[in-house]
């Protein structure tokens, strides 16, 4: 079953302008590798050349940062919401406790 992967504005141009892309996979690693395979412009932006998660992006499954779950081995199931976001101060852009 494909899951929807939400992309940040900064990456959409590499994916045909889409805000959200349906991708198949049983783990976050599967999903991201398939995503990069289908949209080669994302190569080096989401995953490093070694296949690790790029340090400037955070990937969330249902609002949980996958780095603190099982990283690329985090399982994905039907209906999960996956978001890729740039890493920014204060978690996310608009806001910082500062």
């Amino acid at each position: 079953m494909p899951v929807d992967v939400r992309l940040p504005t900064v990456l959409r141009s590499q994916a045909g302008g889409q805000a959200s892309v349906p991708v198949d996979g049983n783990t976050i690693g599967d999903v991201l590798r398939t995503l990069v395979g289908e949209h080669p412009g994302l190569k080096g932006q989401v995953l490093t050349n070694d296949g690790a998660l790029h340090k400037f992006v955070n990937v969330y499954v249902n609002d949980d940062d996958v780095r603190y779950l099982q990283s690329l081995d985090t399982p994905v199931k039907d209906g999960d919401e996956i978001s890729i976001l740039p890493a920014v101060a204060g978690g996310m852009g608009a806001t910082a406790e500062g």
Binding site: P8, T9, V10, L11, Q45, H54, K55, F56, V57, Y60, D63, D64, D65, R67, Y68, L85, P86, A87, V88, A89, G90, G91, M92, G93, A94, T95, A96, E97, G98
Partner: protein, 321 residues
């Protein structure tokens, strides 16, 4: 009660209150440490005094010398804490403030005489950091404390907030706090893990909203240097996003038990409740959370009294975390 020599001596030693009435799990206690009780009204008073005194020790600032200028990016509370400290110590403070913070945050900065330099609201806190770094580079005579990279920030929490929590609640199993500069989580987290490596650290973030849309490339994103230096990725056990609606709902729920807190504290409480829900039945746990500030600075948002959907839309446009 002792009589204190200075308002600055009132920073820290904040009380904790039991908020377990809101826990979804009868085996899980939730305690809230009330940082709004600090004299400048937020947890950031702790780092304000720590940053300034570290700069004085390092000779960057000289007590009593006239015409010394500090500059700092802040979406509010750090600026307010620094403004209070600088007023008392006679330093001139310039705060680079995103234009979309609540009006009360701006007013409080003015109370203590800080000069406000606006950064574009659309760029959020990242924009304030960027502008401040540029201004500091152009004016090397100004002292730039840089809360995102200054280890006196987590050190304040390692030396004070963490030990206070441990002294009041050695049975703590989980610590849940907001992630901004990462100072609270890095400092308290490291201290607590040294006492008991089993303590779990949960970081709560607000969602990005539209603000990350302003980024031209991923390298414009920003990981606080403190987070990197403290090995935040290894230290934290969980990082989760709490959305504005849930944040405001829990801000209201906290008022039901008498706690009048800022919206970020509602977000953190929502995170604590999620944490409590994940603890298996029958397993006893004690979650400690941080109330970052009281509700006063958010009255203009209508967070407690107006239609929640309208408040949520408003909250998406301002910086509340």
């Amino acid at each position: 009660m002792p009589v204190y020599d200075s308002v600055l001596d009132l920073i820290g030693n904040t009380p904790m209150v039991d908020a377990s009435a809101l826990s979804p799990n009868p085996d899980v206690r939730i305690l809230v440490k009330l940082e709004g009780r600090n004299p400048g009204g937020s947890v950031k008073d702790r780092i304000a005094i720590s940053l300034v005194e570290a700069a004085e020790r390092d000779g960057l600032l000289v007590a009593g010398k006239p015409d010394q200028v500090l500059i700092e990016p802040s979406s509010g509370n750090t600026g307010i804490g620094l403004a209070m400290v600088c007023r008392l110590k006679g330093y001139h403070l310039k705060v680079v403030l995103p234009s979309n913070v609540s009006i009360e945050r701006r007013q409080l900065l003015e109370v203590w005489g800080a000069e406000i330099i606006e950064s574009p609201g659309s760029e959020g806190s990242n924009g304030a950091v960027r502008l401040c770094r540029a201004l500091a580079a152009e004016n090397p005579e100004w002292v730039f404390l840089y809360q995102y990279a200054n280890m006196a920030n987590p050190q304040a929490h390692y030396e004070h907030t963490g030990p206070e929590i441990w002294a009041d609640c050695p049975e703590i199993t989980h610590f849940v706090a907001g992630l901004g500069t990462s100072g609270t989580l890095m400092g308290v987290g490291r201290f607590l893990k040294e006492q008991n490596p089993d303590v779990q650290l949960w970081a709560i973030e607000p969602p990005s909203g539209e603000m990350v849309d302003g980024l031209r490339n991923l390298e414009d994103g920003y990981i606080p240097p403190i987070f990197i230096e403290c090995h935040g990725e290894e230290l934290l056990d969980r990082k989760t996003v709490v959305r504005p609606k849930e944040s405001i709902e829990w801000t209201r729920r906290l008022a039901d038990i008498g706690l009048f807190v800022g919206i970020s504290s509602g977000a953190i409480m929502a995170g604590a409740v999620r944490c409590a829900e994940q603890i298996p039945p029958g397993e006893k746990a004690t979650i400690v959370t941080i109330e970052c500030d009281d509700g006063w600075k958010y009255l203009s948002t209508g967070a407690w009294t107006e239609d929640i959907d309208e408040v949520v839309e408003r909250a998406k446009r301002i910086i509340y975390f």
